[in-house]
């Protein structure tokens, strides 16, 4: 058996509405140094879904290679409503995204309605309202939200197809700030629904992603953690492995934490004195 072989243990896919994703890592396309780096990192991450933003066409970019050329056709595109501070702007952006991607591919939307420029924390009330309206229109909504269990439950009521609590502010690299809230979110959302919980924002390094998955989170979404790394390609690989490792550890069922030692070697058969 070669050292690179790895037994494949079974896992269920990540289900978001009608979609089935093999990878539990979702990556963003922002802040890469160039399109080649974007393309390589998307591929190396093993992700099946990728986020994009909707912005005005720049005349300098007309005719050149663009993001459209580097996203593999089999990847699901998740347009976001980043930069929106109101429900109306969010809905307008979602409609533009649907027009861009067509009625079939264009139903997915990452609902982001920001409440504060410095923290980029979501405006919770507006996010819930935007989700409610878009879900009624038939969008598959994946809202970005605070790590507040009540808000996550309200999003379920609003018809969200995923809830995406932040680990920490976007791009902060702080990792999971409030694991207790995240654990409560997992418990309370699962008590009511099969909607996946996906940690989105604030992941800094591989152990953050692994930790989220070990807690039982359904998936992790990240952008800056990879794109901002010194070697983005290497970090994409690290994150792919971290999400898998954390997921396997969760499914394997860890040992309990104990205050005192339990010997690993047998007590019987000790050499007599």
């Amino acid at each position: 058996m070669s050292t690179t072989e790895r037994p494949d243990f079974l896992d269920t896919p990540l289900c978001v509405g009608p979609l089935t994703l093999g990878s539990r890592l979702i990556v963003g396309t922002g802040k890469y140094r160039d399109l080649d780096e974007s393309a390589d990192c998307l591929r190396l991450s093993g992700a099946d879904m990728v986020t994009v933003a909707i912005r005005r066409v720049s005349p300098a970019a007309v005719g050149e290679r663009s993001l459209w050329d580097v996203i593999p056709p089999e990847m699901h595109i998740l347009p976001n409503t980043a930069g929106c501070y109101t429900v109306d702007d969010c809905i307008r952006t979602a409609h533009l995204a649907r027009e861009l991607l067509g009625d079939e591919r264009g139903r997915l939307i990452k609902v982001e309605v920001i409440g504060d420029e410095k923290t980029l924390f979501p405006d919770v009330a507006a996010t819930i309202e935007a989700t409610r309206r878009l879900a009624l229109e038939g969008f598959i909504c994946m809202p970005y939200i605070t790590d507040d269990p009540v808000s996550c439950l309200r999003l379920l009521d609003a018809g969200a197809s995923a809830v995406m609590p932040l680990a920490a502010p976007i791009g902060s690299g702080l990792g999971i700030r409030n694991p207790y809230n995240l654990a409560i979110i997992l418990e309370q959302v699962r008590a009511r629904s099969t909607v996946p919980v996906i940690v989105d924002a604030g992941v800094g390094t591989a152990s953050d992603a692994a930790r989220a998955m070990e807690m039982g989170v359904d998936g992790v979404l990240m952008n800056t953690a990879i794109a901002g790394a010194k070697d983005a390609r290497r970090m994409a690989v690290a994150m792919r492995d971290a999400v898998r490792a954390g997921r396997d550890a969760y499914l394997a069922g860890r040992i309990p934490m104990k205050l005192y030692a339990t010997a690993s070697s047998p007590i019987e058969g000790l050499i007599g004195s």
Partner: protein, 84 residues
């Protein structure tokens, strides 16, 4: 965003200049584009990878040929870009 004065793209001129707001900037067209599709051609924007709003209303791809444009219109042309 700076777009040039677009001249003579549609055959004989003489109908006069029209001014429209494209992605927040004033652009002069001479002669005036007959339709939204003409306008997009004049701007050399790849039509498959964009979505367009005219005066706050999304104009679906299929309606671009038949959609008129007029003096004072506000046009937004958007596409997908990198984001998290």
């Amino acid at each position: 965003m700076r777009l040039p004065l677009v001249k003579g793209a549609f055959g004989e001129g003489g109908e006069g200049i029209v001014k429209m707001r494209i992605n927040g900037e004033e652009v002069l067209f001479n002669p005036p584009p007959g339709s939204l599709a003409d306008l997009l051609s004049a701007l050399a924007v790849p039509q498959a990878r964009i979505a367009v709003e005219r005066n706050g209303r999304i104009i679906p791809r299929a309606e671009r040929e038949s959609c008129p444009v007029a003096e004072g219109d506000a046009i937004e042309i958007v596409t997908l870009v990198g984001g998290g």
